[in-house]
Symmetry: C2
Subunit: 551 residues, 2 copies
Amino acid sequence: MASIAEEIIPTAWNRDFEKISDHLAPSLARWNRSPQRLVTFEADQAAYFGVRASPDNNGIDRLPSLAWGKGDEFVLDFGVHMVGYLSFKLNCVGANMDAPCRLRLTFGESPLDVTMPMDNVETWISTAWLPDEVINIDMCPEAVSLPRRYSFRFLRVQVVDTSPKFKVAFSDVECECVSAISQAHELDAVAFSSPLLRDIDHCSISTLRDCMQTVFEDGPRRDRRLWSGDLRLQALANYSTLRDFNLVKRCIFQFAAVIREDGSLPACVFEKPKLSPSSDYIVDYDALFASIVLDYVVESGDVSAGEMLWPTVLSCVKRSLAHVNPETNLFEVNRSEQWKFLDWAPTLDKNAGSHGVLIYCLKAVNKLATILEKEAPHLDTVEKMAKAARQFVSKDNVFISGTENQISYASAAWLVLAEALPEDVARSALLNTISHADAVKPLTPYLWHHVCDALVTVGCYDECLKIINDYWGGMVRAGADTFWECYDPQDARASPYGDVRNNSFCHAWSCTPTYLLRGKLLDAVSGKVTGKVTMGELDEQWIQRSVGQNE
Amino acid sequence: MASIAEEIIPTAWNRDFEKISDHLAPSLARWNRSPQRLVTFEADQAAYFGVRASPDNNGIDRLPSLAWGKGDEFVLDFGVHMVGYLSFKLNCVGANMDAPCRLRLTFGESPLDVTMPMDNVETWISTAWLPDEVINIDMCPEAVSLPRRYSFRFLRVQVVDTSPKFKVAFSDVECECVSAISQAHELDAVAFSSPLLRDIDHCSISTLRDCMQTVFEDGPRRDRRLWSGDLRLQALANYSTLRDFNLVKRCIFQFAAVIREDGSLPACVFEKPKLSPSSDYIVDYDALFASIVLDYVVESGDVSAGEMLWPTVLSCVKRSLAHVNPETNLFEVNRSEQWKFLDWAPTLDKNAGSHGVLIYCLKAVNKLATILEKEAPHLDTVEKMAKAARQFVSKDNVFISGTENQISYASAAWLVLAEALPEDVARSALLNTISHADAVKPLTPYLWHHVCDALVTVGCYDECLKIINDYWGGMVRAGADTFWECYDPQDARASPYGDVRNNSFCHAWSCTPTYLLRGKLLDAVSGKVTGKVTMGELDEQWIQRSVGQNE
């Protein structure tokens, strides 16, 4: 996620909460993976990315015997998305190594990463995110270990130069993978009704696992940090699968530790070099903190954490509440310049959607109050806002927003999730909106998730499954190992940042299909829990399928 | 030096000699240097390189307070040439470091290195020698330490990217310098008759010191290894100045350790990863090993080393001797395809020069025999070859070579150094050759040294000094801190490798003026030994002069 700068509100540090989060820091699990094959990419108009990987004539076992000189290059395929540290042994082939060897290494999450050049990329976020490194090695044999962490499945190796007197050979190429979730970590094995759903479920879990480091990162490639909007969805997927409550709790307390003087929470925190709030602020993310805490307390049973966080939960909705017109009880986006997100769609009118988000969050506060045996503070406001929400349903029974009566998925999803309307009204307005030709569609998996969750909320399982199969299934068919930050079925090079080479292809906010498939949709997809499986076993199954596809 | 590939002759390892060389491995001295100033380069047609450094408006003390963002750059001037390891502290300036920082660091020995781009360099040796690094830093503050050794005076820092949210600042920039010669190492302080001679002497010593690492390297930037032709000149300069006999002995025994089965020696050895011969072979370098050993024994008094090396000295001239026509007693270049070097000048006819080199070397063998109280083995051959050498002097009294009677400095220098002719004949032919309009001139400092040494041999001190002042003095006037691999007074971008960006500007074979100035020329330049001075003091004096020049 990259964001709009906001005014700076001083931080009212809660050092006790910071200590709680510090004590919950995980020891990262580490394991090694080797490349599965050498691949070449050929143009293929039928493929989503326009290229197709096929195994090189040289089997991976021959790699140590292959010598590469100036201008040579190859791509290694590890068969599975990984987050970790690359090492290899570089050997000299020739009488003497009479010059350094310069290599360019490009870490590919997608085939585009390893088939497009990384020069002259025009992007409005930092080009320092680009996944290439140029390194020079003076002497061989050398055990090369790159100090930075990368997120990748493919490794493109370009030999920029050796000398006329020697070439280089590569052996012992390995990625030391890292995650808060070990290979031995167990989760339910679920049998699905189709290979596509099985793969969607797997990609969701892989995405989640690779984002689970010392915090829930939004994307292990970019920007590698904790955003509250992503955290909420990751936590939901986590409850359905890996059930690491400590990491969720740690992240919740990180946000609560950097509460600001007006009681609001930043949209994002930096864990390193020391815990600190980002200057990014998003009104809807702030309020949704209440939902994150509620979900955590319900799933974990950790009521005492709920008690501790109660003041934070109360204050996190204040800024959002300040947007409500006391006369109309409507959320008015224009009451502040503060950023309301919902989705990246540029023309989106956010009044109705924000109204829905706030009701959803106030209800979460009320539910948490009940669990904590406190008086629910927002019953009256919820009732008034729910009543007011009826005007977001047009006479044609679609969800509308703003002075232009804009029809959008965002408005529909959040007003349905807020359960502000009778279920039959909500259901038909939602279905009408989705099928409306003029409706503003989601641009992000984040909003697609909320559309799916809204559909499930009103029992529209088939419609939800169609989106999952089309949207997330589209990524799987395009070759995804993990789900992406951004997916435009029509344009493989679409990017919110000006250039696809700065996109993240393992991104937290797209990891939720498993939450639905293993949750409310389980029966609808004839899913059956067949026992337990480890993450290592799931990875091995994936590698078998992914490298077997083209062989 | 970069070379022509030769046939491979198996190595007849002398492991005893290798052990001797291993035991002589120096502990490198280490000391830190900080940048003296921020500089900007402006176009200046009067300057040799076409640019002139001037101090930036920001004093170096302000560096830590300066923030640099995408596209910014600056150049640090350390005021003296160094070989070592760069470190600095990188700080984030801004609310948060929300992206990595990508930097390009270019290590400049010359102003061209830090003012020309390093992309798309066309050179027939490896572009991996180019002195730039691209690094990515994920988190600040960060103590950045680059693992490779660099050779430089200037450091160009280009901020490829940060992000719109932060910039970076640099502090604690340091180079940990390394050499076999410490800052406390003492040598004679010599007062010269002119500042130019003082600077030429100093640049010679700096060149020597920066090449003195675990071996005598040809150039610490490129190619960082031991060539016998360079070693001979370095040893001579060393005897006049730093007098580190152990490092010379170590290098001599490294060559003797990798003797080949036919008794010849490679032109170059690799010290790391383990001692091994280069495949490069040069006939004249092989024979000159005898001269290196003789010089060492004479200067150090280490006769026992001479005893041990006697068989190697005997065998190192064999391949050269095989080029002598037994009927004419003339060295015939065409008797083998083996590489005869003398100089890089492409049209040079090498018959006469090689004849001179061989006589010179056979005389060295004979002299060593006398020291070792052995029978001189080549008295007869020397006499015959000296007699035959007369035909290299033309009727016009210039030195000629080959069927075309080519006139060249190379022929003249080596036939004079061989002392094959009566001194008056040699002197006049040498002076006539040097002043002849058609004479093939030297392309390398290596041959210029031999011209100077030849002039001194026949008492032509003024003529020698003129060359030193013009040629080495020309480098000083152009801003040299150390002497270069290649210097063309007419063309600052001349290169034996296709592009000046791959030239070495601290190169062993140009370090000899100090050998002559402190030796046979001392009286001619009214040089006076005034006491002792340390290398550290010499460096400080240089820095004061070099950074004071434009202020």
